[in-house]
């Protein structure tokens, strides 16, 4: 075949593809944008209510009905920051809480650092087996002072989910909070996220708190003393993503009564409910999402009256990836987890007994979270090709691109307004301009890369490839900028 013939054939193919997909893509575009607009409106209503609540808040120090909380901290090779993290968790403002650290077979000095800092002594305690675990527990330790509410469990390495399941077995309080060892909690964070449990103690089963990137902020002794923007663009763009996800997405879904995702970096659950559903699934990649789905399914199957709520106050700060390699691994894992969980719970779709979860939240996640990168990839490939072949009108294509990405920027800016209005965590004006710039830059390269990584994760799952957990390189927190 001659070159001209090949080009002509390709042109015909591109024209045919665009003709065939134009209507579905336009419909999809309208649907996704309308749903995002709806989420923005819902989030706005929720924030207006939250803002009203905040401006009329009465002091609550957790007296009376505040349920006790066990903070569950899985730790694997966290020698750099584990002692500081545990100290800051122990000194949170809350009337009754304990910290349960599970050293998941670390090969570094994680346990030694803890043992030295808290003068740990081994206790001959047997852990309950309420949630079955495969790994062997090597020992249980408590501080010699007899007062510090810390329990350290050493076990063979078997992954984060099993570490959390062991921690749930070791926990003694009615609520369990799953926290990453490298997270920083706001001093009043527990008071915020437990409040829904105290207000509605017989119905509330889980709450999630908003998470923010800590990169660039000044951290002293496990506390953020000054919130700053990250120093490079990759984490800055992730900050924009976090704002959008937590301030619009989760808040909107919570308002709608269809919250199905609570971030693994900080989630608070009723211990008895987590035990009842069997704890985290150690074989799941999206274990946090899977747990919330399992809770929804079980409680709705049994016709129980319950609530899961999102607390938009920034509760937890976490270090986000600063290299493309780590980010790629994270996004592959997230999308794979999303696919596997959605597939596992596909029977909940469009079933009356699952209410808004089955009729709204799950279809949304299927259509606009799972499939979105596939369609976006199609666009990324076909539009440049069509431009190169002269199949589409260039100004028309540019306009369409500006519209599509302009809409993405609009959504981010809506989240920014909400953040500025309700929380205003960043003091400097520079942070405003950097966030606006990040919301534009996100669409140039970053977005396309994450589309590809997400599809990689999905594809590896479809091929049945075993997931390998990457190493999240932490810079750790010190007296200077994190």
């Amino acid at each position: 075949m001659s070159w001209d013939g090949f080009v002509e054939g390709l042109r015909s193919f591109v024209v045919w593809s665009m003709d065939a997909t134009a209507v579905p893509i336009i419909i999809y575009f309208i649907l996704i944008n309308t749903s995002l607009l709806l989420l923005i409106v819902l989030a706005y209503l929720e924030f207006r209510a939250q803002q009203r609540r905040r401006s009329t808040a009465v002091s609550w120090q957790g007296a009376g009905l505040a349920p006790g909380v066990s903070l569950l901290v899985p730790a694997y090779n966290e020698e750099a920051g584990i002692v500081m993290a545990v100290k800051s968790f122990l000194t949170l403002r809350y009337p009754r809480h304990e910290v349960v650290v599970v050293d998941d077979g670390s090969s570094d000095q994680t346990f030694a650092r803890l043992a030295e800092a808290f003068d740990l002594v081994q206790v001959p305690r047997e852990l309950p087996h309420e949630i079955p675990v495969r790994a062997t527990v090597l020992g249980i330790y408590v501080p010699r002072d007899g007062r510090t509410r810390l329990v350290v469990v050493r076990k063979e390495n078997s992954g984060r989910s099993e570490a959390i399941n062991v921690a749930i077995n070791a926990a003694s309080e009615p609520l369990v909070a799953m926290i990453d060892g490298d997270s920083i909690l706001e001093p009043d964070g527990l008071l915020h996220v437990t409040r829904p449990f105290a207000d509605d103690p017989t119905r509330m089963v889980a709450t999630g708190g908003a998470i923010r990137p800590v990169n660039g902020s000044r951290v002293v002794s496990g506390r953020i003393v000054r919130v700053e923007m990250p120093q490079t663009w990759l984490p800055r763009i992730q900050l924009v993503e976090y704002l959008r996800a937590f301030l619009l997405g989760r808040t909107g879904w919570s308002r709608l009564g269809g919250l199905i995702l609570i971030s693994g970096a900080f989630g608070l659950f009723r211990r008895d409910v987590v035990v009842e559903v069997g704890g985290l699934d150690p074989d799941s990649i999206g274990e946090d999402f899977e747990l919330v789905m399992r809770i929804h399914k079980r409680l709705r199957d049994e016709g129980r009256d319950y609530a899961i709520e999102f607390v938009p106050e920034p509760v937890s700060w976490t270090e986000v990836p600063v290299t493309a390699k780590v980010l790629r691994n994270q996004r592959r894992r997230w999308h794979r987890g999303l696919w596997e969980t959605l597939w596992a719970y596909r029977t909940m779709l469009f079933r009356r007994k699952y209410g808004r979860v089955g009729w709204l939240a799950l279809p949304y996640y299927w259509l606009f979270e799972l499939i979105a990168p596939l369609l976006e990839l199609f666009g990324i490939l076909i539009v440049p090709l069509a431009l190169a072949l002269g199949v589409v009108n260039v100004p028309y294509a540019i306009l369409f691109l500006v519209l599509a990405y302009g809409y993405a920027v609009l959504v981010t800016l809506s989240a920014m307004v909400v953040d500025e209005w309700a929380f205003h965590k960043h003091d400097r004006w520079r942070a405003v301009w950097q966030t606006i710039a990040a919301s534009v830059l996100e669409n140039i390269g970053y977005r396309q890369a994450t589309v590809w990584w997400r599809l990689e994760g999905w594809w590896s799952s479809l091929r049945g490839k075993k997931h390998v957990w990457g190493v999240m390189t932490r810079t750790g927190f010190d007296e200077d900028a994190a």
Partner: protein, 352 residues
């Protein structure tokens, strides 16, 4: 073309225009907050010294309080807001002096009017101010506000009633928890009821028969916290028959706090393996709290329970029961639960 060029241009202009508006909104919100803070700071600065003098209890001759009453216009509004904030922290004579300033400013009367304002925030703040000013005459109005359409107002009214502490409001506060569609958050209700003195025991007893589980739970919890023994028969009934597990657990804890020897039997009966594990554990802890030696045989049996946590709780309970309890542990020294409980007790003793 599926989408007409004109439509596309129009949509793009709208989107980009909305983006610009949102950027302006971010800047405006930030600038407004900054300027308001500066204005408040400037208005308050000449009044700060007398305000601190009054709040610190150093205004013996009343001149500083007098000075505060002279504030007018926006300064007065800003000052009243700061006084309301201070009233959450100060007590005694300084609090009375600050309330006097508010009264002279007409803030208390204005708050009574604001209780019927169309603004939710105004109604809520008004209710709070009446509570902070301990305006007892407004209790009926605040009770009425417990049925407000806005949860913020209901919350603030309950908070205010708690600050005033008049037990006459206990019944409405407790009833408001389970009001259909307009319920009062349980945490606020519990805190308000906590500060209403001993006159509320009858209300709590009635509350334990309420059809709403949250109301029963708050009533059971407070009966235990405040040691209202009049509620014991209802607590026993809840522990035995309530359909809600949280209510049963709360009742077990309350019985542990205020129960008698005759309650050992009921608590022991709910440590049976057929009961939910969380309830069994709560009952064992309650038996330890109760400290009645009649519970010793049952607790000894639980030392060999399949649930290691329950066994450890039983051992801990026995250790708190004096020589009889400790003696009962003899012969079980090899059991991990007993060894753990002993070790933890010795660590606590050493650090005491």
């Amino acid at each position: 073309m599926i989408v007409g060029a004109a439509l596309l241009v129009g949509a793009t202009v709208v989107i980009l225009g909305a983006c610009v508006l949102l950027i302006i909104a971010v800047v405006a919100v930030r600038a407004r907050r900054h300027s308001r803070n500066q204005r408040d700071e400037m208005l308050l600065s000449p009044l700060r010294q007398p305000l601190i003098t009054v709040a610190a209890g150093e205004d013996d001759d009343g001149t500083a309080a007098e000075e505060l009453t002279w504030a007018t216009g926006v300064s007065r509004t800003v000052l009243d807001r700061n006084i309301a904030e201070m009233l959450t922290k100060v007590r005694g004579v300084p609090a009375e002096q600050l309330v006097h300033v508010l009264e002279v400013h007409g803030a208390v009367d204005a708050a009574v009017d604001d209780l019927t304002s169309r603004s939710t925030v105004k109604r809520a703040r008004a209710a709070q101010l009446l509570g902070l000013a301990r305006a007892e005459r407004t209790v009926p109005l605040l009770v009425e506000a417990l049925g407000d359409e806005s949860v913020e107002v209901r919350n603030s009214a309950a908070y205010a009633l708690g600050l005033i502490g008049d037990p006459v409001a206990a019944g409405p506060v407790l009833a408001a928890i389970g009001a259909p569609e307009r319920g009062l958050p349980a945490a606020t209700a519990a805190e308000a009821l906590q500060s209403m003195g001993v006159g509320i025991s009858g209300v709590l007893r009635d509350g334990m028969a309420d059809p709403n589980a949250r109301t029963r739970m708050v009533a059971a919890h407070l009966s235990g916290e405040r040691s209202f023994t009049r509620g014991l028969p209802e607590l026993r009934r809840l522990l035995d028959f309530d359909p809600d597990l949280t209510v049963r657990e709360t009742s077990a804890v309350a019985i542990g706090r205020l129960g008698r020897g005759e309650d050992v039997g009921i608590l022991v009966s709910h440590t049976a393996s057929s009961e939910p594990l969380a309830l069994r554990r709560a009952c064992v802890v309650a038996l330890g709290e109760l400290g009645e030696t009649e519970a010793i045989p049952a607790l000894v049996l639980l030392l060999g329970d399949a649930d290691p946590r329950l066994a450890e709780l039983a051992a801990t309970a026995l250790l708190t029961m004096g020589p009889d309890g400790r003696h009962a542990l003899a012969g079980h020294d090899d059991e991990p639960a007993v060894r753990t409980a002993r070790l933890l007790a010795s660590l606590q003793k050493a650090s005491a």
